[in-house]
Structure formats: C-alpha cells, structure tokens
C-alpha cells in the first residue's frame, strides 16, 4: 500500500502529462474490470431528524430547519415515484437520530422498499452488529457509512456533539455491518474537511483492513467534495477538479476492483468526463431533501447539501448510452437473507480495529 508520503507526492505532482498517464491507467483498469457499465441508484431521504452536530451538514441538530420524518404512506408515495423512473437500487437515508428513526422505523422502511426495489442500502446512524443482522434479514444489502475524515483532531472539531463525535465507534461500523452479513459496504471521506493526502491514506488503510478481514463483502468508496448548503460554504480546504480527478485515478489504480461512486454534487460536465476515468456507480435523478420527490415543493425543501446535476434518470440514461455505456439498474436479485453468512474475522489478519486505526494515522 502507498505511504501517506507517496500519496502526498502524487497529489503534489502538477504535471499535466503525469495526470494524463494516471488517467489512462485508471481508465484501462476500470474497463478491464467493469467494462463499459455504470450502476445507477437514487437516494431517498426518510428523515432529517438528527442528534449530532456536524458543522458542515445541512441536517445538523443546531440548524433551524423544518424537521420531517416520512410516514409509511409518505414512504410509499416517494418510493413509488422513484421506482417509476426505473431505479432499482435505492439508498435510504436519515439524519443520525437514534430516537426519531430507531431500528423499528428503519425495518418498516425496508419492508416497504422491498415492494419497489431489488437493491436496498441504508445510510443511517451507526449501529451494533445484531441490529445490522436484523436489517440484513429484513432485506438490506448495503450499508453506507463515511468516516468523513481520518484526521482525529479535525474529526473532533467538525463533529462537535452527538453520537457521531465518537470516532472509534464510527470507524468500526463497516466491520460490524460486514459481520452481520451485509453484502455491500460503502465508505468514504468528505473532501475539503482536512488534509487530502492524510485522509486518503486513512481511507485506503481502512479499506485494506476491511478487505483482509471480510473478503466476501463488495466494497465501494466515495470522496464527495464538500458542497454548499443553500448557498452557504463549509469547505476548509479547496479541492479543484484536477485534484479531484487525480484522487479518483489514484484510488482506482490502488483498488482495481472496488466500486467508486460519483455523486450528483458534481456538475453534469464533470460527471460526463469522469465517467470514462474510473467511476462505476452513480446516483441519478437525486433529491437530497426529505419528501423531496413528491411531498415538498422545491422552495420548501431543506436539502442535506445542494446538488449540481439535476438531470432526470432518463436524461442520464440517454447520456450514458450516447457515451457508449450500459446503464445497469439491476445488479442484485433479493434472496432470502439468513445469518449463515455471518463472517468470522480471519485469524491471520484479525488485528483489532483500534490498532489498525492508530497505525493508519
């Protein structure tokens, strides 16, 4: 694995020819392992109640926004709407409130989602293994949980209060999900929160640790750039397009088979170019507000972050086809999940989470 210093050197190399070479390598590996396919998914926000105070997030507990939690009927309406666009992979999101959106609420959401979608992922508050096991049995295939930054000091500064301020609990979350049988685990960093090279090093170390201990899980990574929220800025360091693409290519070269997700935070122009270079999954037709698809009018919405690519699913599909990509809607067929899969950490590489965590920083 690359050292933090080597990552830094790569990021510091501003020679356009060097970037072009990285891009070629990255594109070639991506085509070899994924072909010209692009998996599509859509986010669906269930609730914006949150008990954590994260300085950069539109849902943070101190923000005076209208708090909203979808009822079962509202979920039906929202899900039906998204399903009509052809989307089969859904990412259900909430703010991080253990009280407002407890396990029972999430299970109900999943049981409704099963009527409309073949792949169900959650991006919600971190939980314990047995809770993930229950969700897995209910039909959850994927868990998304970003560490946001692997710089402990910075982590503490931007996650001021609430459960999310517990760095170690969050770090161990992907592993707990994997232990519970979850098929797909997505991790990531928010670019702009801290030093990029250190954060990438932390992300790669986290991923290697997970790959060794839970090899059967399909991993994907994402490195969204911090966005404005209703126009307000939060980024602490600037990550320009060249740097963003360099990060993409470097990640692909390090992890040829790992999924890399491209967010609607990026502009259509950048997304269209970046398709060729290493991304394998993208959100489409996204709305980042609770009830944003059918319930709330645009001017009444409180988004988690502003999106840049507001093209509809069919517009994205058309664009993908123009660019010679096969849009993939279905990449999983729900089978009755049971706990026969629960993986045990491998003895040879069973280092504890905290020890890896220390060496990675």
């Amino acid at each position: 694995m690359l050292t933090a210093h080597q990552i830094q050197e790569t990021l510091n190399n501003h020679d356009p020819l060097f970037l072009e070479e990285l891009a070629h390598k990255s594109a070639t590996l991506t085509r070899q392992y994924f072909g010209r396919t692009m998996s599509l998914f859509a986010p669906l926000y269930l609730s914006n109640y949150c008990s954590s105070h994260c300085t950069y997030c539109g849902f943070n507990s101190r923000n005076r926004i209208q708090r909203l939690k979808l009822t079962a009927e509202q979920m039906q309406a929202e899900m039906k709407h998204v399903a009509k666009t052809g989307i089969k992979n859904i990412l259900l999101l909430t703010g991080e409130s253990y009280k407002a959106t407890p396990l029972s609420y999430l299970r109900e959401a999943v049981s409704i989602a099963k009527q409309y979608f073949t792949g169900i992922s959650l991006e919600v508050h971190p939980m314990e293994t047995h809770e993930y096991a229950e969700l897995f049995k209910e039909g959850v295939d994927g868990i998304t949980v970003y560490q946001e930054t692997y710089d402990r000091k910075r982590y503490k500064e931007v996650h001021i209060s609430g459960k999310k301020s517990d760095y170690d609990f969050r770090y161990g979350t992907p592993q707990r999900a994997a232990q519970a049988g979850i098929r797909h685990v997505a991790i990531g960093i928010l670019l702009g929160l801290s030093d990029v090279a250190q954060d990438l090093f932390g992300l790669y170390a986290h991923l290697r640790h997970l790959e060794k201990n839970h090899p059967g899980v399909e991993y994907s990574v994402s490195f969204p750039r911090l966005r404005t929220i209703k126009g307000r800025k939060f980024a602490l360091c600037h990550v320009n397009d060249r740097m963003f693409i360099k990060i993409l290519c470097l990640t692909r070269i390090q992890f040829p088979r790992v999924g890399i997700t491209l967010s609607t935070r990026e502009t259509p122009a950048l997304r269209d170019h970046a398709l060729e270079l290493g991304f394998t999954r993208m959100s489409a037709g996204s709305n980042t507000s609770v009830g944003g698809y059918t319930i709330k009018k645009a001017d009444e919405q409180d988004p988690q972050f502003d999106i840049e690519d507001s093209r509809t699913v069919s517009e994205i599909v058309q664009r993908l086809k123009e660019k010679n990509f096969d849009p993939v809607f279905t990449d999983w067929r729900p089978i009755e999940n049971d706990l026969s899969i629960v993986s045990k950490p491998h003895a040879a590489c069973g280092s504890s989470v905290s020890s890896v965590d220390k060496t990675s920083l």
């Binding site: 085509r31 070899q32 392992y33 994924f34 072909g35 010209r36 396919t37 052809g86 089969k88 098929r183 790959e211 090899p215 059967g216 899980v217 399909e218 991993y219 088979r257 790992v258 086809k321 010679n324 990509f325 096969d326 993939v328 809607f329 279905t330 990449d331 999983w332 067929r333 089978i335 009755e336 049971d338 026969s340 899969i341």
Partner: protein, 269 residues
C-alpha cells in the same frame, strides 16, 4: 495437387460436446457481462455461433422488457444461469432455485465467491452447492480453481462438467493454471470447460490444444473495441485448438534432436 489428397475439414471426425445428454457442435461458450450495449452482445452471440451463454441471475431485470438481457439471447441457445453474487453454498442454492422458478431452466453455473479482491471461487462451498442442486435435478456446471480432489468430489456430487479457471477472472492472463488443468483433463471423465482469464484467441486455442472440451470467455469479448469480431476469433481459435488436439500434436522437445547419441551405437554394428 491431387484433389483426392486435399484435406477436407468436414471429413475430420469430431464428436459433439456432450453435457448432460445434450449435444453441442460449438465448443465456445460466451458470458454476457460487461458489454457496453445489448447490440454488441447480440452480435457477439451471432458471430461466435455459441450455443451456450451464461447470464447472471442478478442482472436479469424482468420488468424492463426493452433492456432485459434475455431479449437479446435467441431461443435456441442454452441458457446457463450463473449464481454470481453468492458467497456460500446456501446463497448459490437459493439463487439456482429462484432461476428455476422464474423459468430460466435447470442449467446452472455455480459461482461461489467470497473474496471481492481476487474473485477466486470457494471450492468447498461449490462442492456443497453442487451436491444439493444435482440432487434436485439441476444440470450443474461448477466454476472452481483447478484441483484434482475438488474435481473428483464434484463428479461424485453429480456435476455435469467442471469449469476450472485459467487464471483470475477478468484478468486476461491466459492459462496460468495450465498444468493443473491438464491433470483434470487426464483424470476427470466429465467435460472440462476452461473458464476465466482467457484474454485472447490464442489462450483459447492453447486450452483446446491440451484437451479441454470447451472454453468460456466474457471480459475479453465484452471489452474489445469490436466485440463481435473477437467473438468470431474465439470461435475459430477454439476450433483450431480442437483440431490441433485431435491431430495428436507432435511432442515439443527442448533440444534439437538430429540423431540418436545415446542409442545410435545399437544400429552401427
């Protein structure tokens, strides 16, 4: 040249490939993943003349008729549904049953992969799934790392063929496992179909020359600039390799053998 001495390929005797009592004249199998569009897939099937294609159950989208992969596979082709995504025997068994219930037939390629980095098959779990599914009447073609003991167990478990990997799936590295595949060809009496890692037509020809019964390719074709052309090339290479095998290729020697230095004295008296 005397027309009578012209070699006619039609006159070469080759038996069809038999799998579970069904006969196939084309020994090239095609996978359907990673194609940039369905037209390329359709053309590749047509150009290669393949008679067996694999489709991942997870990628079949029943509700989208226009983009449903099955719409692009002619009805006379044997559909070999694969259990891609299964991480243990239980999951592979469930996927196979779903495929049967959905009407995709009984031909199942078992893929049990519990390693997302190398995508190497889990041989033990594959044997377990084979045993259960063969008893349920499935035609089971298990995908495994080439290992003699595993192959023997698969025969006992009721496999219809064994599909050893040539090298890591999607790697285009060719026949890295050649010596181990040769052992399976020697010792196992059900068809040996080399799967995974076949990146070029010459790799496919090589597999057939050593006596494999058939070859499956996917990534190389799907990601080529002109998939249908490569599909055709694979078909021809598989045929060429097969003829090479049937011709009983002369053995390779490491030294030029001009005379008989060790035994010549016997004839020089």
């Amino acid at each position: 040249m005397n027309p009578e001495t012209t070699l006619k390929t039609e006159s070469i005797l080759d038996e069809p490939l038999m799998i579970a009592g069904k006969s196939f004249t084309n020994r090239f199998l095609l996978g359907t993943g990673k194609f940039k569009n369905k037209t390329d897939l359709k053309d590749s099937i047509e150009f290669s003349g393949t008679q067996i294609v694999t489709v991942a159950l997870r990628r079949i989208d029943l509700e989208r008729h226009q983009e449903n992969i099955l719409e692009y596979i002619p009805a006379n082709i044997t559909l070999l549904t694969n259990t891609s995504g299964a991480r243990n025997a239980q999951e592979a068994i469930r996927i196979a049953r779903i495929a049967r219930e959905a009407g995709y037939g009984d031909w199942i390629k078992i893929e049990v992969i519990n390693d997302s980095k190398y995508l190497l098959p889990d041989n033990q779990e594959t044997i377990k799934a084979t045993e259960v599914l063969a008893k349920e009447g499935f035609i089971v073609l298990p995908y495994v790392s080439p290992d003699l003991y595993v192959a023997r167990d698969l025969v006992k478990a009721g496999a219809a063929a064994v599909m050893p990997l040539g090298s890591l799936i999607g790697s285009n590295q060719g026949l890295k496992a050649k010596e181990f595949i040769k052992i399976l060809i020697e010792e196992i009496d059900i068809p040996i179909i080399v799967d995974a890692g076949i990146g070029t037509p010459s790799h496919a020809a090589q597999a057939m020359e050593i006596g494999a019964d058939a070859v499956l390719a996917n990534t190389a074709v799907a990601t080529a600039g002109h998939p249908a052309l490569l599909a055709k090339a694979f078909y021809l290479a598989v045929q060429a390799g097969r003829l090479g095998y049937l011709s009983q290729l002369p053995p390779r020697r490491n030294l030029a053998v001009a005379s008989s230095p060790l035994t010549g004295f016997l004839y020089n008296q």
